[in-house]
């Protein structure tokens, strides 16, 4: 049927293509195809009428001001997505504290004098971001990794007799130069540096680091049972080296 032959071409014509003489002749003699072309054109006219509203659409008068404000704020503060790593770091720090508390409890139950066994800051996870602290800027990024005073208290509450945990909570002055200065998650150095720079310029406040509320008491771990480590003191005579 001739109409079927022209069906696809009619869509082209409706969309703006020019009709061939052959097609025009067919349309002139075919009411069905005339109707089809009309329907297609009507459809596009409806589309155009609806989309024409876009041309006239104006944003609210305060949009530019809103954008200016948002840009200014983003220039002053590190964007939230760049601080995303802090959540990870905070969670890791919390997990580390719990682990230290558990280990400390275990050691303190079995070896009362374990504080002298060398479980010290090096092994404690004093994840010191040391460099910013040298400047004494209150609330620098080091708070995110180094334990704040409040969190020290919180951990002390959860593991009151834990020498290891206390070792972890040792004040910064006890840190030696042999300890690592920076412990930063891989790939996050630049983000950290920008954040600390903003802290120094006082364009971002330290309170933004406290969103995780590190001062809150850590919950007691439940459902975990670790068998106490048994340590049997060696016989001095056997270890004296005397044959």
């Amino acid at each position: 049927m001739a109409c079927e032959r022209y069906r696809d071409t009619l869509s082209d014509v409706a969309a703006g293509a020019s009709a061939s003489a052959d097609l025009e002749a067919h349309i002139a003699s075919c009411a069905s195809c005339r109707q089809e072309r009309h329907a297609l054109r009507q459809a596009l006219a409806t589309v155009d009428a609806e989309l024409a509203g876009l041309r006239a659409a104006e944003p609210s008068p305060d949009l530019a001001a809103r954008i200016r404000t948002a840009v200014a704020m983003s220039s002053e503060a590190t964007p939230a997505w760049r601080l995303g790593w802090l959540w990870t770091l905070t969670a890791a720090a919390a997990a580390l504290l719990v682990a230290l508390a558990l280990i400390g409890q275990r050691v303190s139950r079995t070896v009362p004098g374990a504080a002298a066994t060398g479980v010290g800051p090096e092994a404690s996870g004093e994840a010191a971001l040391a460099t910013p602290a040298r400047d004494g800027v209150p609330g620098t990024a080091s708070q995110s990794a180094r334990l704040s005073n409040s969190s020290r208290e919180a951990v002390s509450r959860s593991a009151p007799a834990s020498p290891a945990a206390l070792g972890a909570l040792a004040p910064p002055s006890r840190r030696t130069r042999s300890e690592p200065e920076v412990l930063v998650p891989a790939g996050e150095a630049e983000t950290l540096l920008r954040f600390v720079a903003n802290l120094r310029r006082r364009t971002v406040t330290a309170e933004s680091l406290l969103v995780a509320d590190l001062s809150a008491p850590l919950p007691e771990p439940k459902g975990v049972f670790i068998r106490p480590l048994e340590i049997v003191p060696l016989d001095p005579e056997e270890t004296s080296g005397a044959e």
């Binding site: 969309a15 703006g16 459809a43 944003p59 949009l63 954008i67 840009v71 220039s75 720079a197």
Partner: protein, 191 residues
């Protein structure tokens, strides 16, 4: 690398622009905020959402402005970004929202009956659905052609494409739309 070394290497001031760039950015904002808004509106159909998208697009533009100083390049980048952000937002919305509260694109107010208004709204929805069903390449050409009053050279500049490519895509888009919506003519004729 330690912090102080890194800071002295210039990482610290990466966020803010110098005053001259800020002035240029301000010009771009005045020049193109409506464009970003309209592109987003063409996808989202809600003014508030479109303004949010325009704002986010400009925030991103600000972060990358040192490489976007050229006016044409900036507008092209902005259009692409606003379109992409709007699509992302729409996909997120579809999971939870429906279009009952979707206000149509700036239609003139009518004081007709509720029935007529409902019919008009349905028509808009059908058209919007048909446009939304286009492949992205055809869809953005359709939206920009409407915004730029079918000035294909202008659309081509915004999309950084040859004018012939834009013309071809627009033709394909209109052909698809005509075929999908051809029933509208007979439907409206019977009303």
């Amino acid at each position: 690398m330690l912090l102080d070394e890194a800071m002295s290497a210039g990482w610290a001031g990466a966020v803010s622009l110098d005053p001259a760039l800020e002035r240029e950015f301000e010009q771009r904002l005045s020049d193109a905020s409506a464009l970003a808004f309209r592109v987003a509106l063409g996808v989202l159909r809600r003014r508030e959402d479109a303004e949010d998208v325009a704002q986010e697009a400009f925030l991103r533009a600000h972060r990358s402005f040192t490489s976007l100083r050229d006016r044409e390049r900036f507008r092209a980048w902005l259009v692409r970004t606003a379109f992409r952000l709007a699509l992302d937002r729409l996909r997120g919305e579809r999971r939870r929202a429906r279009r009952e509260d979707a206000v149509a694109i700036e239609a003139p107010a009518h004081a007709d009956s509720a029935e007529a208004e409902a019919a008009r709204r349905e028509l808009r929805d059908r058209v919007a659905d048909a446009v939304a069903g286009l492949p992205e390449k055809l869809r953005i050409v359709t939206v920009l052609a409407a915004i730029e009053e079918h000035d294909l050279a202008s659309v081509a500049r915004l999309l950084e494409l040859p004018e012939g490519t834009v013309k071809s895509r627009l033709h394909r888009a209109r052909k698809v739309l005509a075929e999908r919506l051809r029933w509208l003519a007979s439907d409206t004729a019977t009303r």
